[in-house]
Amino acid sequence: MFEIQVYGDRGLRITLGDSISKETNDRIRSFSSLLEDENIKGVIEWIPTYTSISIFYDPALISYDSLRERMNSLYENISLIDVPPADVITIPVCYSKEYGPDLTNVSKHNQLTEEEVIKIHTEPDYLIYMMGFSPGFPYLGGMSEKIATPRLSSPRAKIEAGSVGIAGSQTGIYPLESPGGWQIIGRTPLKLYNPKSDHPILLRSGNYIRFTPVTEEEYQTIENAVLMGTYKPKRELFKGGEKG
């Protein structure tokens, strides 16, 4: 699927699929990488999502028609390039009572022990389909239905940054302190969003994350290293294969 649409007077939207799938995500990543290499004058930025790429451009520098033509010819190359390699980033999570106040809810709801919930949650590599909602927030796919749990009936007024939660069959991490209704099962000491850093945003779409359990002590050690700016998250090449 490849369709180009007008999106306002400074936008061009390209549909590359009609449902959430890894195949569509691969095509979006390939197309994004072609777009990046092309470095087209007048293209300000683009927003890749589950099924599309929307390009924001300056019509004083490039017209819609010529941008559309460039996109059509770029698309002809999409099958010629390999899908860019993906990284797996390990996210340490402390699944304690203090950091994960709803771990018990999730285990009861699914008739599992808390240990089983943690084991299931840390098993798969989760694909980051897109970023959005708030700075640094990854939309993840691949959580096991075995630990799916509805949102809290009454949302919390304040959830700490780094909180790891479950909402329905989705899992995610809160990059900022905010209100929210997710079932919070743990917390990571990593900063998904750090405006003071040279790399303000830890994750990007197309990569994977893997949760790994840490003790409260290890959490403290990592948190200190993060604050000192000395912590390097573990990053490895994704080798494929659908674990979990």
């Binding site: 999106y7 007077d9 017209s63 970023m131 640094g136 969003y193 945003i201």
Partner: protein, 314 residues
């Protein structure tokens, strides 16, 4: 700080430092932020001899009280919030000299919501991801990522005393009270709406509600009906995009919008009219008119040429 330019004596409602926004990071979920009325900020900057995208002070309805810590040149553009120097009212859309110790304050809001104080040399708080714009929800940019507080001191670049007494031609001064139509380009989810839904959107009027802020303008009026539900797979949002959730009331997304959203998008306001939406106070009635991309691009080009020419002749 020897580049201290302004001291905040009284902060006002939600006064913040803004430039043209933090572009380039939306693919990582970052909000663009920036001035709600980018036209007014750019004009202000041009009138004081700055680059169009220099950071200025965004003032919302209830203005601050500010003391100048050095001689400089300022221009106030955008909403008329009755600006005064040492208690005497001053002209809008005009650059003028101010002197160390003088006090800028605001009075009654006359029209519009957002005024901009452009200062020669620009406000020079640190750049964060290439921009000085304040995004309070993520404590990013501006002064510690927050609205201004009493006692804050704002730094500026070196003032240029050659450019003052410059006035924007009245023909170009927007009338925020005028009940003109807001022009849109339909789509990208036009097909998600019934014929009646589109008809309502383009023929009825929609009132700006009090639930309107830097993120967007929430309107209410005759329901804009969907064919089959209001939810889409989360997708990109641009400035001026009009989302319609299940209740059928439109939301026009503005500076602090999230880069993606899950509601159907009936249209996007053309660039030239976004400042007019941003300046619309609660209670104002808005009517929409669909235009072609061709016309929108001509208007965009005209405005761009005007700003370029003005930069040259000031």
């Amino acid at each position: 700080m020897n580049n201290s330019a302004i001291e905040v004596l009284r902060p006002g409602l939600s006064t913040s430092i803004q430039d043209l926004g933090r572009t380039g990071y939306q693919q990582f979920g970052m909000v663009v932020a920036g001035a709600m009325d980018t036209f007014a900020l750019q004009i202000g900057n041009i009138l004081v001899g700055n680059e169009r995208g220099a950071a200025g002070i965004e003032v919302v309805l209830m203005g601050p009280k500010l003391k100048f810590l050095r001689d400089t040149v300022i221009a106030i553009c955008g909403a008329n919030l009755s600006p005064m120097i040492d208690g005497r009212s001053i002209s809008m859309w005009r650059s003028q000299r101010v002197y160390e110790g003088q006090i800028l304050s605001f009075g009654k809001p006359v029209d519009g919501s957002y005024a901009y104080i452009a200062l020669s040399g620009g406000i020079t708080t640190p750049l964060v991801m290439g921009s000085r714009s304040t995004y309070t929800k993520a404590q990013t940019g501006g002064l510690d990522g927050r609205f201004l507080n009493k006692g804050d001191v704002l730094p500026s670049g070196e003032p240029n005393f050659d450019k003052y007494g410059k006035q924007l031609h009245p023909e170009w001064i927007p009338d925020y009270n005028k009940t003109g139509k807001i022009r849109v380009i339909l789509g990208p989810d036009e097909e998600a709406f019934t014929k009646e839904g589109i008809h309502n959107f383009l023929t009825k009027t929609y009132k700006v509600t009090t639930q309107t802020d830097r993120m967007g303008s929430r309107l209410e009026g005759p329901a804009i009906e969907h064919v089959d539900g209001a939810d889409i797979i989360s997708d990109a949002i641009f400035p001026g995009t009009v989302q319609v959730p299940a209740n059928g009331n439109p939301i026009i997304l503005l500076a602090d919008r999230q880069p993606t959203g899950g509601y159907t998008r009936i249209a996007t306001v053309i660039s030239e009219d976004i400042p007019l939406v941003a300046q619309s106070l609660p209670g104002k009635e808005i009517a929409f008119e669909a235009v072609t991309l061709n016309l929108a691009n001509k208007l965009y080009q005209r405005r761009e040429n005007f700003l370029k020419t003005l930069s040259k002749i000031v």
